[in-house]
């Protein structure tokens, strides 16, 4: 069956289902992309290890959910439990991000630019393999109480929240999209309304000049890594909730796509990262849904290559002038 015919056979129902799940995936990419874009803003470093921090976040959420209840005996209602998983994962990942920055990147502040990049690749690989070592390479699943399908076949979280015409949305998708929006608003307030946020913007504009103005650049970088990694941790738990599957290798592909989302939106641009994340999420979901699920990576990455080639400053980014 050719693709064109297949397209005509799909219904609007299918389209809306794909749209909503694309938005949910896009929210995840957006959250991860924020970490990339913030770090790139202040350090001009492609923090390769960020995707693996997100993977660790998913695992932290998994272990917390399992520690606080088995499928049969949850110790607390589901809402505070999920909030707790978010909190634990964000704190854990935030600390991990700060440690990575302190030990892998800070000693290389003055090195040629290729050095921290290679170090970042090393950290990424190290985290991935540590996860394999500690938690085995087998996929785990967020298989707990309300997440698990009950006798009616659908878990509480996966019931339809509401329906408008053809447009229906599950609770879990609602949770993911809404919490992304909340985190985003919080981040915007932080960056635009606080002194630290102002310092962060100053550093990303010109690190040297801002250090002359009395800004503690190292502290700003630490905070950037803390926040970026915490957001990745939140994204990790959300992934667990939506897909219920996690494995040590999930960070690699998600990291690549999220970094591209940051580039698509214009690197260093927070609103752009969100836009880019949503775009890439939608592109990926529609590719899988309409074109080919087997070659979705091939198609998606080809689109991204073309995009990077012809618009590497992103949708919202300004052209970069190289000064000597």
């Amino acid at each position: 069956m050719s693709t064109v015919l297949a397209f005509q056979l799909q219904t609007w129902n299918f389209f809306f289902r794909e749209l909503v799940s694309g938005l949910a995936v896009g929210s995840l990419y957006a959250l991860i992309a924020l970490g990339y874009t913030m770090v790139y803003g202040v350090l001009k470093l492609l923090n390769f290890a960020h995707g693996d921090v997100y993977m660790v976040g998913a695992y932290i959420g998994f272990f917390l959910l399992n520690a606080l209840g088995s499928p049969l005996a949850p110790v607390m209602p589901i809402v505070p439990l999920i909030l707790l998983a978010f909190a634990a994962s964000m704190v854990g990942c935030g600390i991990l991000g700060v440690v990575i920055e302190r030990f892998a990147y800070r000693p290389l502040r003055k090195a040629p630019r290729i050095a921290p990049l290679i170090s970042a690749i090393g950290v990424s690989f190290f985290l991935q393999q540590t996860a394999v070592l500690l938690w085995s390479p087998n996929p785990r699943s967020y298989d707990t109480f309300s997440l698990r399908p009950d006798s009616s076949g659908i878990g509480e979280l996966f019931r339809t929240a509401f329906t408008i015409g053809n447009f229906s949305i599950q609770y879990v998708q609602l949770v993911v999209i809404l919490s992304t929006v909340v985190l985003m608003i919080g981040l915007s307030l932080f960056v635009w309304r606080t002194r630290t946020g102002k310092a962060m913007r100053a550093v990303s504009f010109d690190a040297e000049a801002s250090s002359m103005m009395g800004i503690d650049v190292d502290r700003v970088i630490t905070i950037t890594f803390l926040i970026g990694s915490a957001l990745a941790g939140a994204a990790g738990v959300m992934t667990g909730l939506i897909y219920q599957q996690l494995n040590p290798y999930m960070g690699f592909g998600a990291g690549l796509k999220a970094f591209t989302a940051a580039v698509v939106g214009g690197i260093g641009n927070i609103g752009g990262a969100v836009l880019g994340g949503l775009l890439i999420g939608l592109t990926e979901t529609f590719t899988v849904g309409y074109l080919s699920s087997q070659f979705s990576d091939l198609i998606l990455y080809s689109i991204l290559v073309v995009f990077l080639l012809f618009r590497s400053t992103g949708i919202r980014g300004a052209p970069v002038l190289q000064k000597v």
């Binding site: 040629p112 290729i114 090393g122 690549l256 990077l308 080639l309």
Partner: protein, 498 residues
């Protein structure tokens, strides 16, 4: 190394017109000492001849098929490392798509000499064709360098790797994205098998690795001599200029974009040859081979040996591959681990009083912990030490020492005890990180539990989990080298001019 300034005054007194950078210029220009110096002074051709000689002698000297196999693998890695060195070491381009060229060549070779498409070309036809095609692919995939540079270029190259992996894994049903019916291009997850061996001058190479040792060695010989002269040529100098400062190089009239393309393509050519050998030697190509872990392996080799130095990357390839092989066998790995640790302490710790104190501290610490654990939790010290039937650490002095110094819980290498190892692993990482920030005597005090803890994690977790320990080790190589010696073992230190 002299710490005095040229005029003979102590370096501590400031001199007019001599700042920190100028004062220490002697340290930077001074050559290395010892073995490195010897390696630098020996003519390259002698080193090359010795290398090829040893590599080719191994099949004659050893009757073990395993050893010869490792020899053949290592030579393939040497080829790969030399190819990657062109882009990464000389031109300074982070070519993260390098494995694509290797994989592409292997697949192309396999398709031209197997029953997959029922094409059975002779080797003198396939290998030049594969190399030419791979060079062409190198030019094509390097095209983004005309518009992108640095991180963006690296990420686009990595995208090509992802695309390639996706294509090879699912290529058994390639349908031109829905335009045609599905047909089998790459054999899918199981790859292409029954690839024919090389046929050279009417002589069909056997499946034994011995023959491919000679093939790879011949390849290395040609490539090394070729690259030796390329490095000294106009192009080689231009590449290095490009690496140091692309903008300045462009200002000097160097065709930066063309040279970037050329660097990636030349590297791809070497990968093309290595890929052909890979297809013939393993008699098959499999998509899982050409993925990110292989990329990291080759990068670790190039970085460890010293990007930019031909001999260095070859040395790095040998060291990394041999170490990875040793890690497969717990007994051998254990010997290497303790030997490396003791040699490292001997080489790095000065003065001898510190060394003696640390050794004594380690011995006492281990024994005390052993006694305490033994008293509190008897099961904790009764575990076996060795894994595998052919252990020479089960008996004898070495085993006795370890058994009384180390805590080996009973039932080591069971799921429950891996958990103990897991916690210890995280704690040891924290200790190692702490050692890098703490200064003075506290650091040396912290060294004792760190080293002991590392040995504990080694014995309870890493030695048995070799499939994971090997890649873990690669990641550690990259991180540690970047933090301590970015130039690698034989690389030239780059002087950043600000």
């Amino acid at each position: 190394m002299s710490t005095e300034s040229p005029s003979g005054q102590p370096a501590t007194s400031p001199q007019i017109g001599v700042d920190e950078w100028v004062r220490r210029s002697g340290e930077r220009t001074a050559g290395p000492g010892g073995l490195l110096r010897l390696a630098n002074r020996t003519p390259s051709i002698v080193l090359l001849a010795a290398f090829i000689g040893i590599a080719c002698a191994i099949p004659e000297l050893s009757s073990s098929g395993y050893v010869i196999g490792v020899d053949a693998d290592t030579l393939l890695y040497v080829l790969l490392a030399m190819g990657l060195n062109v882009a990464v070491g000389w031109a300074g381009i982070l070519d993260l798509g390098y494995v694509v060229f290797y994989g592409f060549a292997a697949y192309l070779f396999a398709e031209l000499s197997s029953a997959h498409y029922n094409i059975h070309w002779a080797t003198w036809q396939t290998v030049p064709l594969v190399i030419a095609a791979t060079i062409l692919l190198g030019f094509v995939l390097a095209l983004p360098s005309r518009r992108l540079n640095g991180d963006y270029l690296a990420i686009v190259m990595l995208f090509f790797l992802q695309i390639f992996n996706n294509f090879t894994t699912n290529g058994y049903a390639w349908n031109w994205l829905g335009l045609t019916g599905a047909h089998d291009v790459t054999g899918g997850p199981t790859g292409i098998t029954n690839v024919e061996p090389f046929r050279v001058f009417g002589h069909v190479l056997s499946n034994a690795p011995t023959d491919y040792v000679f093939v790879s060695a011949a390849g290395i010989f040609v490539v090394a001599i070729l690259f030796h002269y390329v490095n000294r040529s106009r192009t080689g100098r231009a590449w290095r200029a490009l690496r140091e400062d692309p903008l300045a190089a462009e200002m000097m009239g160097i065709p930066v974009k063309w040279l970037s393309l050329l660097a990636v393509a030349v590297g791809a050519g070497v990968a093309g040859f290595a890929g052909s050998v890979n297809g013939a030697y393993y008699q098959g190509v499999f998509p899982d081979t050409f993925m990110f872990p292989l990329l990291i392996t080759v990068y670790a080799m190039v970085i460890l040996g010293g990007a930019g130095s031909l001999g260095g990357v070859a040395f790095g390839a040998v060291v990394v591959n041999v170490l990875l092989e040793i890690l497969r066998t717990p007994d051998h790995a254990r010997w290497v681990f303790y030997a490396a640790m003791i040699l490292g302490l001997l080489a790095k710790l000065r003065p001898w009083r510190l060394l003696a104190a640390l050794t004594a501290g380690l011995a006492i610490f281990g024994v005390v912990v052993h006694e305490i654990v033994g008293a509190v939790w008897a099961r904790g010290v009764g575990g076996p030490i060795a894994v595998g039937p052919t252990s020479f650490t089960t008996h004898g002095f070495f085993a006795t020492v370890i058994r009384h110094w180390m805590v080996l819980p009973k039932g080591t290498y069971t799921a429950e005890n891996f958990r103990i190892g897991n916690y210890a692993f995280v704690i040891v990482i924290a200790l190692v990180l702490a050692c890098t920030v703490i200064k003075g005597w506290k650091r040396w005090a912290l060294f004792v539990p760190t080293i002991w803890g590392a040995c504990f994690v080694w014995e309870t977790l890493l030695v048995e989990q070799a499939p994971t320990t090997r890649p873990l080790f690669l990641g550690v190589i990259l991180i540690v080298l970047m933090a301590t010696r970015p130039a690698g073992l034989f690389g030239t230190t780059r002087v950043e001019i600000v």
